[in-house]
Amino acid sequence: MKFRASVVACALALLAGGCRREMYDQPRLEPMERFEFFADRRSLRPQPPGTVARGRLLEDRHLYTGYSEQAKQPVELFPTSEEALERTLARLAGPPLAESFPFAITRRHFARGRERFEIFCAPCHGLAGYGDGMVVRRGFRRPPSYHIERLRQAPVGHFFDVISRGIGAMDDFADRIPPEDRWAIVAWLRALQLSQWARLPEIPAGIPPARAPTPEIPPVRLQRDPPAELAQVQAEQRARLGSYGWIDPEKKILHIPVERAVELLLEAGLPVRASVAGKAGER
C-alpha cells in the first residue's frame, strides 16, 4: 500500500513539475507591468513634480525650446494685413522664435529628419508635406500645407515650437521626439519646402509644360482596399518628391527632387546660431 502511494506521489510530482511557472513570472516588475501598490497601478513611475532628472536641466533655451535668446524681429506697430497682425500678436505674446538652428545641419541630419518625419509627421502631413496624409484622408482635420507663403516665411523656431508644444488639432510630440531629432525634422521641412518651391538658375530640360496640380484629398468614403489605397497615395507623394515640374511657370517656380533640394541647402547652408556658426562641420 505504501509502495503504491509513493509511486502515485512520484508520478504526480513529475507531472506537476512541468507546470511550475515561478521562474517564468518572477516577483519583479517588467517595464510597464501592472503594479497594484500604487493607486494608478503603474510600475513605471512618473517623474515627481518639481524635480529634474540627471542631465535633463535643459539650460540651452535655443536648443530645447526653439526660442532665441534675444529679440531680433521688429514688431509692426501698424500691421497692414491680417498675417502681419497675427505675426505681431504672436511676437507680443511670447519670446521671439529662433531664426536659426542651434547646431550646424549636415547630411546626416537631413537623413535623420526624413526618417523621423516619415514616422511621426507623414501620417497626417503626407510624405511631401501637403497635409494630405492617410489619417487626414480618414477624417482628421487637415493641417495646412507646408508650401504656403506663411510657413515658407516662418522661422525655424516656429516648427520646433509646434512639434514641442502642439498647435490646433495637433498634439505635442515632446515625449516621443527628442530635441535633436526635432531640429533634424525642421531641417527636413526646409528641404521639403525648397523642393516644392524652387527657383533654379538653369531650368532642366524635359519638364512637362503643364502646371503641377496642388495635391488634394478626396472626401472620406468607405475604403475597398486600404493597403492598395495606401500604396497608391504614398507612390503619388513620393513621385511628387522625386520629380521636376512647374508650380508657377510665370514666376519660374519649380518643384524639384527633394534630394536636389537637400544638396542646394547643404551648399547654401541653413542658418546656425552665432555661437556655433564659427565651428565648422559636425557638432
Binding site: D25, Q26, A122, P123, P226
Partner: protein, 216 residues
C-alpha cells in the same frame, strides 16, 4: 493442478511488455512536444484586450510606422506601449465617441494607463533587448509576424529557446538591411543567402549561444 492463467493472458503479457517499453518514450515525447505546442505557448492566439486594436487598420491601412507608437524600440530593451495620449491624438477627432474606445477615453481622462495584455511574453529568466536586434538588422516581422495583416494582435510563432537559437546560430538566414527592418513586406532582391552572408560580415554579427548570453 489446473491452469491458473487462461490462454488470453499471453496477450495481456505481450501488451504489458509493449506498454512498459513504449510508455517511457511516449511520455517523453508528450512532455517535450507539449512545452512547445501552441496549446501551451498560445502562439497564434489573440488574447482578449481592453480595446480590440487592429494593427491591420493602423499599419496596413494607414501606414503608421512601428515606431510611431512603439518608439522605445530603437534605444530601449522594451519596445514600449503608446500612452493613452498617443491614441487620443487622433481619436479625439476620429471615432471620438466609438464605444470600443471607451477604455482609451477613460484612461486619458483619469490619467491612468490602458491595461493591455502582453502578446509577446518572454520568460523572466531571459534577458532580451530590442534595440540591439533592430540595430543589427533583425526586423520586427521576423519575430512578430505580419502585424499589418492582423485584425487582432497575436504572436504567430512560439518564442521558445529553440526558436531563439535557430537565429542565434544562423543569423545569415534572418538578417535584413538595417534600413528595412521596420518594413512589413520587404523581400530581398537576388540571392538571399549571399545577402545574408554579406550582412553578417558588414554588421559584424556574432553567433551568441553561451547560456549566460541570454540567461543573466
Amino acid at each position: 493442478m489446473p491452469q491458473i492463467l487462461p490462454p488470453s493472458a499471453n496477450l495481456a503479457v505481450r501488451l504489458a511488455l509493449v506498454g512498459a517499453l513504449g510508455a517511457g518514450p511516449a511520455l517523453l515525447w508528450l512532455f517535450s512536444s507539449l512545452g512547445g505546442s501552441s496549446w501551451v505557448t498560445r502562439a497564434g492566439e489573440a488574447p482578449v484586450q481592453p480595446v480590440p486594436f487592429s494593427h491591420k487598420l493602423h499599419v496596413g491601412g494607414l501606414g503608421l510606422d512601428c515606431r510611431h507608437c512603439h518608439w522605445w524600440v530603437e534605444t530601449g530593451a522594451v519596445a514600449g506601449m503608446p500612452s493613452a495620449k498617443t491614441c487620443m491624438h487622433c481619436h479625439a477627432q476620429v471615432f471620438s465617441d466609438a464605444a470600443p474606445l471607451e477604455p482609451v477615453r477613460s484612461a486619458f481622462d483619469g490619467d491612468r494607463s490602458i491595461e493591455w495584455v502582453r502578446v509577446a511574453d518572454l520568460p523572466d529568466f531571459v534577458s532580451f533587448d530590442h534595440s540591439i536586434h533592430v540595430r543589427k538588422g533583425f526586423a520586427c516581422v521576423t519575430c512578430h509576424g505580419r502585424v499589418d495583416l492582423m485584425p487582432l494582435t497575436e504572436q504567430p510563432v512560439a518564442m521558445t529557446m529553440r526558436w531563439c537559437l535557430d537565429c542565434h546560430r544562423n543569423p545569415e538566414r534572418y538578417a535584413w538591411p538595417v534600413e528595412q527592418v521596420f518594413r512589413m513586406d520587404w523581400q530581398p532582391e537576388g540571392d538571399p543567402v549571399a545577402l545574408g552572408r554579406r550582412l553578417v560580415r558588414e554588421y559584424g554579427l556574432r553567433r551568441p549561444t553561451d547560456c549566460s548570453f541570454c540567461h543573466r
